[in-house]
Symmetry: C2
Subunit: 414 residues, 2 copies
DNA sequence: GACTTTTTTTCGAGGCTCGCAATAAATAAT
DNA sequence: ATTATTTATTGCGAGCCTCGAAAAAAAGTC
């Protein structure tokens, strides 16, 4: 069950702490690292000497900060971009996007292509994914460090081990073990991540002040998804990627949801649901795809004058509000980021949402709940995949010292 | 933020592992402990020698198992009951119960009294609680080891630091910092725990096969409460005790709940809600207290013939089912234990519950979701408090070696 | 009674972190 | 220009801790 701590774990963990501190802080000095980790200066000195000698970290004199303090100037430590690289693959509706990212987090190459995901065959989908990655990896213009990990993000349900896509709204195909496929193809460790979880990871890196320990990222798009961070950790279900906020029940037996059931939050707040309601279609009408442009036009019309369009957004807000209220009954209120095309229409959604939330158990502090919006989900998803892959690398490089890469043959510190 | 691992932490943690292994396994040999913790035999030997010498563990020849295996017989290690003691205080509707428990988990003394919690004054409530604890602690018949911790459990909302009762259905009083009060009164560290959380903790110890990593304990009584264990850890909200399952929204704007809002699960499934519905009262009728005997009579009538009583239980099942369905959308299905007086009527509730759950996202595996029932919540709550207090002691005794107790003056191992 | 088997203890080796002292590298003062 | 001051980093020895191998202990088996 629980495993004891061995002696060698100690150094491994502390190396991980140092790497994490550097990745988080950007260019901290040894002294700063000692302060944030609580380890002694000697220890930090020893560990960073190892890491530099192995080519994972590098010293960088802080050129800019010339003369602020009196004593010996601090030497900034930075991640060596060439220590490794990772690949991100983001598959979304009709769109496939790949990026190569160096160890310091900078994009060094990318490629995108359109692809009819709703009708594509299984073979073709897998083929396109591996081909695009192969093209980026074999680009002769690019002098890559060893690529250490691939992180793939997709809208839909993934299994809890981050190995396979179980179900996705962007394709009728199910149960594709992308992680295994990519690993077999390239011999590089890979994971299959849920898009909303990656959005949450990205927010944590982008704005650690606001998104630190507990927060929620909600995707308002064709479907409704959620990424949840609790106590600083990404929360996933016990079997699947979890957090199927969009399929919490808003009205038992209510409107038809894309998932085939009735009354889900998504059946009132997804793009298709807003469209269905705004155009006077029945709640039982089959969900249809609505383009982002159409949604923006709809929002514009709703802002223009009161009518069925505005009412549709109001109902979406109500569903989201009751869903959030039920969620807050379980986990207490937390900051929320609204992401995706309908986040741009959040002004139309917010009043009804707040009104609904105030009627729930979580609504006691409804005034203090704050919402942020970000209309474009793709960059967030890619960023999350990148950070996820990189932190995995951080925790593999230090493991048994070897196998990471870097020309370090002798382990003795000079 | 994140803190590095110091060298001295190592021994502390491994001591904790050994204690935890012994508490869990009952009477394991050193060899078994080495196997479960993954530490070497030498290490276990050294640590257990320390613990025995400090009076925390004791050797116990396994008298019963005379001749099974060939080699040197194993020596069982057991917790020394006299190493410490803890006190549990359980406050429930009109009832206050205290127990003293030795370090090995056996009850050595207890006292219970009736008390009109709905009308009692703040001073009197606090006074009764401290007085009953004092009587047990000062009992001259009892030769206690040093009492190392007090754990108090109460139905209602507690703060996330386990210090105070924020709100409870059993009294109109709010915000009583019981943990601080008990600490000030007795100079013994104390915590204030939520009853459903303690039920979950107790289940984890009672039946670790069924209730291990992920499960749910639901209290079906006057109110509806929940204790949630995820990934082996008790899940609490970020600010309060969390898991207010009873106040997830079942029907927006629906029946009046005891909390003053409308449409909560509890407003359909709490004792008062079942009663209200069975007796043909309006959904807007003020919640009233219903005795356990009345509820049992109601269940009997519902079993006898179809009618409003049976329909009331059906509606309760529906509310619970949709609530669980929404919950399962977030965390994936898990085993459920139904506790409390209405758990005895679970036969009346289950069909509608399963039907509702099957209509939700979590219902994909509704067949495999299994329910257990336990009509009596009090023993569970006390057991949970006891185990919580004892595991806290486990993690305080090893800390800086000293201050725990035990006559160990010299630290050198002979 | 000698041999096997299994458990537990002993002992030396190797690692890790820490505190303290020493060294390095800048600015401020004279 | 030189010395003093301040702050950052490194070196070194001490003290723990865990591990592996071997020894000791305590049974059963032949």
């Amino acid at each position: 069950m629980s495993v004891g701590i061995r002696h060698d774990d100690l150094r491994r963990r502390n190396r991980a702490m140092v790497l994490s501190a550097v990745r988080r802080a950007g260019q901290p000095s040894r002294t700063e690292i000692a302060a944030t980790t609580g380890l002694s200066h000697s220890t930090i000195s020893a560990i960073s000497a190892d890491l530099i000698q192995e080519g994972i970290l590098m010293e960088r004199r802080k050129g800019e900060t010339a003369s602020l303090k009196r004593g010996r100037p601090q030497i900034g430590l930075a991640l060596n971009p060439e220590a490794a690289a990772v690949v991100t693959v983001v598959l979304s509706l009709n769109f496939l996007s790949v990026a190569v990212i160096d160890y310091a987090g900078q994009i060094v190459a990318e490629e995108q292509l359109r692809l009819d995901t709703l009708t594509v065959s299984r073979e073709k989908l897998i083929g396109e994914c591996t081909a695009i990655v192969r093209r980026r990896l074999e680009d002769p213009d690019l002098d890559l460090g060893s690529v250490a990990r691939i992180a793939m993000g997709i809208q839909g349900i993934t299994d809890s081990h981050a190995r396979a896509m179980l179900w996705s709204p962007i394709t009728p195909l199910t149960d594709i073990p992308f992680a295994d496929i990519l690993e077999a193809e390239f011999g590089i460790p890979a994971t299959m991540e849920n898009d909303c979880n990656m959005m949450a990871v990205a927010l944590q890196w982008r704005d650690p002040d606001r998104y630190r320990d507990d927060f929620i990222a909600i995707l308002l798009s064709h479907g409704i998804g959620m990424g949840l961070v609790l106590k600083g950790e990404l929360f996933t279900g016990t079997h699947s990627s979890g957090g199927e906020f969009g399929h919490m029940i808003h009205r038992p037996g209510g409107a038809l949801c894309r998932c085939g059931r009735r009354g889900c939050v998504e059946a009132y707040a997804g793009n298709y649901a807003i469209w269905r309601s705004a155009t006077g279609m029945s709640e039982d009408a089959e969900p249809v795809d609505v383009s982002d442009a159409d949604m923006r036009a709809l929002a514009a019309k709703a802002r223009e004058h009161d009518g069925p369009e505005r009412e549709a957004y109001r109902r979406a807000g109500e569903a989201l509000g009751f869903g959030l209220g039920s969620l807050f009954a379980l986990i207490d209120p937390a900051p929320v980021a609204m992401v995706g095309v309908s986040a741009a229409a959040f002004d139309l959604i917010e009043p009804a949402l707040r009104e609904a939330i105030a009627q729930t158990a979580g609504g006691q502090h409804s005034k203090s709940i704050s919402f942020d919006t970000e209309p474009n989900e793709l960059p967030l998803i890619r960023e999350g995949c990148a950070m996820r892959a990189l932190t995995f690398v951080d925790q593999e490089i230090f493991a048994p010292g070897a196998q990471a890469k870097a020309g370090a043959s002798g382990k003795n510190v000079a």
